[in-house]
């Protein structure tokens, strides 16, 4: 397993380089213009000058090379500088956003807290709720609990967040006045009271996101449990006199985790990717909102960097999932 992991990690490097090239070419090919949001009163000649100032005059391969150098060389140097107080990256150009004309990584760092608070917590909450629901629904298939669970999760998944988000705002902010409809990203948690404020502003976005994620994971959990509950080994385990709890929660659950692990491993990178619509509805302004505004503004360095970090996480977590398969089911081998 170790050699497998090392081999896959090494293989990930050319894969990621190729992915970054494909993303770059895709962004290059996509129609759009960083000047699209500049008012029409600004004359075309001025816009052309502004494009040149962004470096858009250079050929594609030079811009790609510049991005590679900035991202893989200057940015890590800068990080080391920050950590150890050295000055390796002094005077070298970092990856600069076209919208803000400031280093992309600084903005990303600024956005991570609220994304983790909201999307990350939603994910954790959803997984904690979804797995028991899935297990119990399968164990008592077609009981009222299963039927109700099916109904709620299916409706929950069919209702898009642009609707459910506004619905909870109307109910809890406008009518009941319990929670703020706008997330305050400047809020700092220092004591119990400020923690309560933070919780209050998180409740609605977490609720909306968790509903979607729970629906998805609990469905896969239920289906996979159902497949396993009828297996011979379950009968054998019961025949050996194991407690029902041990049979279901140790043997069946472990063998049913493979699809669920896959879904969760695909979901964790998307925590970083943020939740575009939910962030927009609640004004959380995390990574998702950053990405979508950058796409609309054709801020290519920003989109490229965010997408690439996302790609790294995808490759990494899919590798982790593959390793976990081997642990859950030792018969799986990759050699």
């Amino acid at each position: 397993m170790l050699t497998f992991t090392i081999r896959r990690l090494l293989l990930a490097i050319p894969t990621l380089l190729f992915i970054s090239l494909v993303i770059f070419l895709l962004l290059e090919l996509a129609p759009g213009d960083p000047m699209a949001q500049v008012p029409l009163t600004v004359p075309p000649e001025v816009k052309e000058k502004m494009r040149e100032a962004l470096g858009l005059g250079d050929p594609v391969y030079i811009r790609f090379w510049k991005w590679l150098v900035q991202f893989f060389w200057v940015e890590p140097m800068h990080l080391i500088d920050n950590l150890f107080g050295t000055s390796l990256a002094e005077g070298q150009q970092r990856v600069i956003s076209w919208q803000t004309r400031s280093p992309v990584m600084d903005i990303v760092a600024q956005r991570i807290p609220q994304t983790l608070w909201v999307v990350g917590v939603a994910y954790v909450v959803a997984v904690i709720i979804a797995i028991p629901i899935g297990v119990y629904s399968a164990y008592r298939q077609y009981s009222w609990f299963d039927q109700a669970g099916t109904f709620v999760t299916m409706v929950g998944f069919s209702v898009p967040p642009f609707f459910s988000g506004v619905l909870v705002i109307v109910i809890f902010s406008v009518h009941l006045g319990w929670f703020p409809s706008i997330y305050d990203t400047t809020h700092k948690v220092t004591d119990w009271d400020s923690f309560v404020v933070q919780l209050k502003q998180m409740v609605m976005p977490v609720m909306v996101l968790a509903l979607q994620i729970t629906s998805q994971i609990s469905r896969f959990m239920r289906a996979s449990m159902l497949d396993n509950l009828g297996q011979d080994y379950v009968r054998t385990a019961r025949a050996k006199g194991m407690t029902e709890k041990a049979v279901v929660l140790i043997h069946v659950l472990r063998n049913s985790m493979i699809p669920v692990i896959t879904v969760i491993a695909l979901g964790i990178p998307s925590i970083f990717g943020g939740a575009i619509i939910t962030e927009q509805v609640f004004k959380v302004n995390g990574i998702g909102q950053l990405l979508i505004t950058a796409i609309y503004a054709n801020d290519i360095p920003m989109v490229q960097t965010l997408t690439f970090i996302f790609a790294v996480l995808i490759v990494l977590f899919n590798l982790i999932a593959d390793v976990l398969y081997g642990i859950l089911d030792p018969r799986i081998r990759y050699d």
């Binding site: 293989l11 894969t15 190729f18 992915i19 494909v22 993303i23 895709l26 962004l27 996509a30 129609p31 759009g32 077609y142 039927q147 099916t150 109904f151 299916m154 409706v155 998944f157 069919s158 209702v159 898009p160 642009f162 609707f163 506004v166 619905l167 109307v170 998805q216 469905r219 896969f220 289906a223 996979s224 159902l226 497949d227 009828g230 297996q231 011979d232 493979i258 699809p259 692990i261 896959t262 491993a265 695909l266 990178p269 990405l291 979508i292 796409i295 989109v303 997408t307 690439f308 996302f310 790609a311 995808i314 490759v315 899919n318 999932a321 398969y325 089911d329 018969r331 799986i332 990759y334």
Partner: protein
């Protein structure tokens, strides 16, 4: 579902099932009953599945036949009748321009159901093929999974922009403006949503192919093609069914997002997702306008979910015997 005896029963293989009665029917004994009748009997006994299927057929019939009975043009604007609640002339009310909501729901349903089903089918097909190939053939695993990683990493919106730029005019020329847009939307949703299915199917196949019954089948020299269709695929059916149900909901909503951004159908062309999106801002004033499309989408997804449950049970020979 693992059942070591099953490989010896031709009953679970659709292709084999067709062949068996054909060769033996000439014999003196009664031709064996087609296995699909067993499946059908089991399906019939699943109450949720029957209700789901009946409801789904009614829904499809309503949106395709409804416009012949309810003949108001969904794009006709009667501005004096704007913002009406449900009444006799407009059973579901009218929108902000006085267009009849019932007519728009019916017209929208045609598109949403068609897009939902075909895009889901395409995504499941690609996902399953890639997942099975990657899981079963070790040599294909690396390249196919890296390909999946690539698709997972691509930003959706720029990808759509490029696809629209490259293919819209070509497709409209070949299939007419509406046919072209339909094909474009369905393929865009299909090719951007298969990755999860592929990863899940592959994970299950990796575990399955080390199971005893697969090893047994392989040891008697079963060719790969038959291994996959007869032993592997039936056993990964349930996660595929779940992906399919969730996929319909995603496809209906994604279509509305695409059309809203201007990559899909013309702006005056109603779809359920679009109707829901347009109504959200006015939710407090006219709650019925979010309820109709929201209900339609949810009920469609629910009914497909129950059909999926029923099908899964019906196709499982061990449950079928019970």
């Amino acid at each position: 579902m693992t059942d070591p005896e099953r490989p010896t029963e031709p009953a679970s293989n659709p292709a084999g099932a067709g062949a068996v009665p054909a060769t033996d029917a000439a014999g003196s004994y009664r031709a064996p009953r087609n296995q699909w009748w067993d499946v059908w009997d089991q399906f019939k006994s699943h109450k949720g599945a029957v209700i789901g299927a009946v409801f789904f057929i009614l829904m499809v019939a309503a949106v395709y036949l409804g416009p012949y009975i309810w003949t108001i043009d969904p794009t006709y604007i009667d501005i004096r009748a704007k913002n009406q609640g449900p009444n006799l002339l407009h059973p579901m009310g009218t929108d902000q321009l006085g267009r009849d909501t019932l007519a728009r729901m019916l017209a929208g349903g045609q598109v949403s159901i068609a897009v939902g089903l075909t895009a889901m089918a395409l995504s499941i097909l690609i996902g399953t093929v890639i997942g099975v190939l990657a899981g079963y053939f070790r040599r294909l695993d690396g390249p196919l999974m890296r390909f999946t990683d690539l698709f997972l990493a691509l930003p959706l919106l720029p990808l759509l922009l490029v696809a629209v730029l490259l293919f819209r005019d070509m497709l409209s020329a070949a299939f007419g403006p509406e046919g072209g847009v339909f094909i474009l939307i369905v393929s865009l949703i299909g090719i951007t949503s298969w990755m999860q299915t592929a990863r899940i199917v592959r994970g299950d196949v990796l575990a399955l192919k080390e199971r005893e019954f697969v090893l047994a089948a392989r040891s008697i020299g079963t060719p790969s093609q038959r291994m996959v269709t007869r032993h592997i695929l039936p056993n990964v059916l349930s996660p595929i069914m779940v992906s399919a149900t969730l996929g319909i909901a995603t496809a209906i909503i994604t279509e509305s997002a695409l059309s809203f951004l201007g990559f899909g159908f013309p702006p005056d062309f109603p779809t359920w997702g679009r109707l829901l999106f347009d109504a959200v801002d006015r939710m407090q004033l006219y709650p019925e306008r979010v309820i109709w499309p929201g209900l339609a989408i949810s009920l469609t997804v629910l009914s497909v979910n129950y059909i999926g449950d029923g099908l899964r049970d019906a196709l499982d020979p061990r449950i079928r015997g019970r």
